[in-house]
Subunit: 354 residues, 2 copies
Amino acid sequence: MPAGGRYVYGLRYSTNMSLTRTRARRATINDVADAAGLSRGTVSRVMNGEKYVSDEAKQAVEEAIARVGYVRNNAARNLVTQESRAIGLIIHEPHSLLFEDPNIGSILLGANEVLSKADYQLVSLIIDSDRDSRRVADYLRGGLVDGAVIISARASDPIAAAIADIGLPAAFVGHPEGTPALPYAAIDNVEAARNITGRLLQTGRKQVGMIASALDRDSGKDRLAGFQAAMGSRFDPNLVVEYPLYTYAAGLEGMQELLRRAPHLDGVFAASDAVAAGAMTALQEAGRRVPEDVGVVGFDDSSWALRCRPQLSTVRQPADLLGSTAAELVLAQLQGLPGTPRVLETTIIWRGSA
Amino acid sequence: MPAGGRYVYGLRYSTNMSLTRTRARRATINDVADAAGLSRGTVSRVMNGEKYVSDEAKQAVEEAIARVGYVRNNAARNLVTQESRAIGLIIHEPHSLLFEDPNIGSILLGANEVLSKADYQLVSLIIDSDRDSRRVADYLRGGLVDGAVIISARASDPIAAAIADIGLPAAFVGHPEGTPALPYAAIDNVEAARNITGRLLQTGRKQVGMIASALDRDSGKDRLAGFQAAMGSRFDPNLVVEYPLYTYAAGLEGMQELLRRAPHLDGVFAASDAVAAGAMTALQEAGRRVPEDVGVVGFDDSSWALRCRPQLSTVRQPADLLGSTAAELVLAQLQGLPGTPRVLETTIIWRGSA
DNA sequence: ACATCATCTGGGAACGTTCCCAGAGTACGA
DNA sequence: TCGTACTCTGGGAACGTTCCCAGATGATGT
């Protein structure tokens, strides 16, 4: 053991900034103990801030740690403590939509904030192929995370089943049916959609359509159900168009199609703000005035809403709170508490588009 | 050891869907060995698909694995193999911008694709506070990842210094100056900005301004430098407004400010597409026609570009390629090869906004 | 003077893998 | 028949921690 040496990955710089790595032995807790003239146990106690360490010992260890460049090996630590202090967040989103949906970022940050405070590391795992799906399942099973938050799950998502199978503490954001009995943080999409559609009808609209999206997800399906409920006998299936994703493009095309089917349409409920933004563009290009000729309402109150002209009337869904609540549900389970599903409040934000 | 039992985390369901966890002992490789009537070594060989395992043994092991519900403990595996087959991707982005910037999603997916093919797990770590910064540094140091990709780094980012310090194979997306000598995948922002500004000038504009953003980042600074280079003697510092972030809001306000300073302005280079979209809204609200009265160009060719009316003339930057290239640079280093910095091509996409 | 208690330290054992070596069995050619 | 090579299996050792117990030391109370 090279005395006084610095055990780190060796870096060998070659010409103009490229570099190759020569892996040297990393310092272990024993190297620190030797350097400090103390035992492994004492070093461990210092590292973990336990009591019953003399001031001299503490100082000697800290100095030795700095001298040999010691960093704790978490794999070894996880192995013996049987925990990782990390929580996985699984993002299973179609390619094109990933991160165009501002909700995902908010959910992530909300979850991160809660976990950060509890001194857990959030690790995000994205699933973009079947291969990913398997690898992520292995990762989750392998003891590298103590729990998981699952967002944008499809009904019958295999990864959710895998998680339930191994009994990893977990929580959903949203509440896809057909998924295992795991706690979730969600909003009541049916109720919210019913409310905003009702509000739109109160402005005196006679012929109201909907651009529905993502019917393979609970949110998409429920928003359509809420719309139908609000319309009651006035519901006309011919005035509903369906698209696979919550996108601007869906709104654009969807609105054009609706205008083709019903030129005198005077109200539209778009399944998300992005969809609503696309719809407004289509309306304006077709020479319709918003809100005079056609009232438009959306869903999410994402950054899209303020970008529209006029600004969008929409349902505010607390995306950050969904993330933080789901994280709390996981933490609760980690402490042996029950994870009770939670339904968060939505509110209608009425602006100029209807 | 409960014979024939299934060693998994126990789940105890209580009333109405809430559940508590009772952690039971997980099956180990020894349990599998016992159940199969074989040895640890043989089970390990089957798990890792090594040769020199008889068909009977293989079958017996696979059956035993299923019977006892065995999943490999990755912490133990990482400990002995000294690798994790995971690559960290560090996202250090201001709260409000996270994931409103479509580039980040593309970079992530690009990196994920490359790593997935090489059978590495991508784990994204987001930094949203100083506390996060420390925790992420610990995570990276702790042996839980074999390498790292750093995106949206600031000049003098502490996390980058930490990575270089421990010698973890890493690569930047972008090339902030003042950061350690790590390889990077980047575009030439100066050149690209110079080109599109030049192209804008060719349309006969006399008075051209710029809405600059994110001057604390290499991309923001370089785009301004390129603008100035293209303008040459016509450069007027009074026609440059500066905002901290690449946002729609910056474009909106920036354009209003520019119009105040120079009502006869007939061209604008916005530092990103989101900024350009905001600028176009401001112009249209001020009664200016685009492109007749004012030509607008952006940067990124993100989904914003197609959303604008008219669609945006912009610089296409291959965000997915940036991600995948950075990932490749990390993989190369993992194989002992040098990680040579790479500068990717940009192209001008000319649409209707100028 | 002695028992008791708190403080501090050392080091064996365990966590669950993979690696590697030794050894048994079989096949084949000289 | 024997040597050699290949196939297959078992199990000791090691990876780098934390946990826990035993023991030393010093302070305190009776």
